[in-house]
């Protein structure tokens, strides 16, 4: 499932995938794949992304049950 919350938070922070990738120390493809829901990041990477985007884990990675 696509992670639209992450994409939205990144755009709100005015960051490109490449810039966010540099901030958290991964490749642009990794950020792209997380946004597409094709890669499950580890907890430490999730936390690094949250810190870079000034959000909480709940904000970016918690899926509400529909």
């Amino acid at each position: 499932m696509k992670n639209l919350k992450l994409k939205l938070a990144r755009v709100e922070k005015d960051l490109s995938q490449d810039e966010l990738a540099k901030l958290v120390g991964v490749s642009r493809q990794t950020i792209g794949l997380i946004e597409l829901g094709k890669y499950n990041p580890s907890l430490s990477l999730c936390i690094a992304i949250c810190k870079a985007l000034s959000r909480t884990l709940d904000d970016l990675f918690w899926e509400e049950e529909s």
């Binding site: 120390g25 991964v26 990794t30 794949l33 890669y39 430490s44």
Partner: protein
């Protein structure tokens, strides 16, 4: 180990994918070496398979020792026994039985093909003779070997896993 982490990669996805490639490469090497041993034994009168055997044994021993030292051997056994009806220890007995049987069959067929060339009756005789003798020698050996190694590895792995869990404070 430090000498593997000289060029530290920070992207966990790349590390995971590289580890997957290493695993596939190891499997490929194992298949090639095993095929080479089988082909040499069946096609050559005086086969030299030492290199392949060293590659296979070194890889296997290295993996075994590392998994024990990291404590994951006993963890695998624990998770397996929790989910499976057949305990891991019983499966090691079955694997020893299968290896012994496989080797006895292998030597039996090889002897029949290499030395029983004159007629079918001699081939069958050679097969059963070598098969029976190999079975008597290798079956108890491999069962005992598998059970002993499993017992020792599980015990040592538990010790390493426990020391990892110990809080330094």
């Amino acid at each position: 180990m430090n000498w593997f982490n000289r060029n530290k990669l920070t992207d966990e996805r790349i590390v995971n994918l590289k580890n997957q490639i290493y695993r596939e490469a190891y499997l490929l090497i194992t298949i090639i070496c095993s095929a080479s041993i089988i082909l040499k034994i069946f096609l050559q009168e005086d086969p030299s398979t030492l290199t392949e055997v060293i590659v296979l044994l070194a890889g296997g021993i290295y993996y075994g020792v590392r998994s024990v030292m990291l404590g994951i051997y006993s963890e695998e056994v624990e998770v397996h026994d929790r989910e499976s009806k057949t305990p891991y220890s019983r499966k090691t007995v079955w694997s020893g039985l299968a290896i012994g049987l496989g080797i006895a069959l292998f030597f039996g067929i090889r002897s029949a093909l290499l030395y029983g060339k004159s007629d079918l009756q001699t081939q069958v005789w050679y097969f059963f003779l070598v098969f029976a003798v190999s079975l008597i020698i290798y079956l108890p050996f491999f069962i005992a070997f598998q059970v002993t190694v499993h017992h020792w590895a599980n015990k040592a792995s538990k010790k390493f896993a426990e020391s990892d869990l110990r809080d330094p404070e």
